[in-house]
């Protein structure tokens, strides 16, 4: 057995819930603190806390279609990094805001490849009745005009259904 073989055999690999790092002084093993989440669809992460703050999401789909952020696929395109949802439109009085997934179904009430499916930032929630269906993906908590924390609201890929009625405006459900 060569030294290389021995080194390969004794190499330590990270298992479940474990992070291994290497430093000039040796390696370290760390373990997520209690309450850490998992990398679920639409998982939000705050990027920066100053005026350029935004949210980057793990990929999630609705009816199999990938939403867009500022006209870009949420997972990025052509090798580019996933786009950041800019947290604009807030004021000094803002305490909460939301990242919303807005969908505009076709005339049959269904989503297709041409449907507008986008993630936007708003300081209020929608009624979910009308032409556009909306579901909040993340709640952003603000303090002193800075985003302090973001809470995930959705943990799964989504399915959209539009309920149509001859006497009322369309109602949207995400399930």
């Amino acid at each position: 057995m060569t030294l290389d073989d021995l080194a390969a055999k004794n190499r330590i690999q990270p298992g479940t819930g474990t992070l291994i790092g290497s430093t000039p002084l040796g390696f370290f093993v760390s373990n997520p603190s209690s309450g850490m989440s998992f990398n679920h669809p639409f998982r939000p992460v705050l990027v920066g806390t100053d005026s350029g703050a935004g949210i980057r999401f793990a990929l999630g789909v609705v009816d199999g279609f990938e939403p867009q952020i500022d006209g870009q696929p949420m997972s990025g395109s052509s090798g580019a990094l996933p786009p950041v949802l800019k947290l604009q439109g807030t004021s000094a009085a803002t305490k909460e805001s939301w990242a919303l997934l807005n969908v505009t179904p076709n005339d049959q009430g269904l989503l297709d490849k041409d449907s507008k499916i986008e993630i936007v930032h708003r300081t209020s929630l929608s009624t979910n009745i009308g032409k556009v269906g909306s579901i909040p993906l993340a709640l952003i908590v603000w303090k002193n005009k800075l985003p302090v924390m973001v809470w995930p609201l959705v943990f799964f890929n989504l399915h959209h259904i539009q309920k149509t009625s001859s006497t009322a405006a369309p109602q949207h459900f995400f399930l």
């Binding site: 055999k9 298992g15 603190s33 609201l153 399930l175």
Partner: protein, 394 residues
């Protein structure tokens, strides 16, 4: 110096599992379970001599429920009861901690009632009922561990409940004073009642969740005003406390807490609107008219030619149930109407492969067989979600 016989091997410590493979050694650290939304922890607050609960934020329609408390209580909350940890989403732990101890309440009077969202870790004062008597039996989880009436230990439980205000259905029945069965017109008027103006989405504690009021028309009493409750409630968790042997009086810090969760994922909620009855759905003996009142509320007037009191009563019940404005909760899981996650049909002890659910099943079976785990109050991940009610699409 490293020995060629492989003595440079890792050893398992507490909460650690080492797997040796042909590619090297794999270390897995078994951290605490993931704290899902609505994860509830119970604490004894010595200064107040109270059992309190902290509920990890869960959300309904994207909003964080609140807890009704006082400014003084928020200011006096000990830091160990308002844990700020590296929960996902905290961009800056220091800022998150600052948020939790915000001086926003400093200007308020000590007894000013305030509603504090769950992400600020407000404390919920628990209230309990005694189990093992008229209020219900002691759960098997405890009796299997020897907690019985003979052991001298007492068990109390309290529910943590999600409270959502809503419009409620009202029903009033009127009939002529000279009621003649078979030819008199009886009128049932359905309307809406708004919740109290100060009611809000909140988490409350109570000894036992109240089931929704069932419609009870009484016996032969046609002149009846019926009103639904102006809220929907859903059980989040039940907190159990087990006493030391031969304890008397109210629970104190010497009692042992255990929590059984009923809710694991964020929720959506909606309620039906009071609408006109389609003419095709109106039986021959009925006529209905619908009017929109001030504020957008609706009123549905149904005239019935009664044949007997029983017929009238049955019609009134059917109409009331069909037009109930009780809301519906569900969790968006992407799975359509069924939010029950499948469990592994087989168990495997293989260390490799994608059958994680089957491995968990095998580990759980082994733990139970060894006596290390008799059973648990909560299900294993991925838990169970509140299913979508297909009736919402009708």
């Amino acid at each position: 110096m490293m020995q060629p016989n492989g003595t440079a091997q890792l050893r398992e410590g507490v909460g650690t599992r080492i797997t040796r493979t042909q590619w090297g050694q794999c270390i897995s650290m078994q951290g605490a379970t993931w704290h899902h939304p609505w994860f509830t922890a119970a604490y004894w607050w010595p200064a107040q001599k109270q059992w309190v609960a902290v509920v990890r934020p869960g959300f309904l329609n994207g909003r964080a429920p609140c807890v009704s408390t006082t400014a003084e209580r928020m200011k006096s909350t000990p830091s160990f009861l308002a844990p700020i940890t590296a929960w996902d989403g905290a961009a800056d732990i220091a800022q998150a901690a600052q948020l939790a101890t915000d001086d926003e309440y400093a200007a308020l009077g000590p007894n000013t009632q305030i509603y504090v969202p769950l992400y600020r870790n407000p404390l919920l004062t628990l209230s309990f009922r005694e189990l093992g008597g008229v209020d219900g039996p002691i759960p098997k989880y405890f009796t299997r561990r020897g907690v019985t009436a003979d052991s001298g230990r007492r068990v109390v439980s309290g529910d943590v409940v999600l409270h959502q205000p809503r419009l409620a259905l009202t029903s009033q029945i009127s009939y002529p004073t000279d009621l003649v069965l078979g030819s008199s017109i009886v009128t049932q008027t359905l309307g809406e009642r708004a919740p109290a103006s100060n009611d809000t989405l909140k988490v409350v504690a109570m000894p036992q969740i109240n089931p929704p009021e069932n419609y009870d028309p009484g016996t032969g009493d046609l002149v009846r005003s019926y009103e639904e409750q102006t809220w929907d409630e859903l059980l989040i968790a039940t907190v159990f406390l087990v006493s030391p042997p031969h304890a008397t009086g109210n629970p104190d810090g010497s009692w042992i807490p255990a929590v059984q969760h009923a809710l694991f994922w964020n929720l959506h909620w909606t309620q039906p609107r009071l609408q006109p009855i389609p003419s095709a759905a109106i039986p021959g003996s009925l006529s209905a008219s619908f009017s929109v009142l001030a504020g957008g509320a609706g009123q549905l007037v149904i005239n019935s030619l009664v044949a007997s009191i029983n017929d009238m009563t049955n019609e009134a019940i059917n109409i009331t149930v069909a037009n109930s404005m009780a809301g519906t909760f569900w969790t968006p899981t992407g799975g359509g109407s069924d939010s029950t996650f499948p469990t592994a049909t087989t168990a495997t002890t293989d260390s490799f492969g994608l059958a994680k659910d089957a491995r968990n099943k095998a580990k759980r079976a082994a733990a139970i067989a060894s006596g290390a785990l008799i059973d648990s109050l909560d299900p294993t991940f991925p838990y169970k979600a509140v299913p979508f009610a297909l009736s919402l699409l009708n």
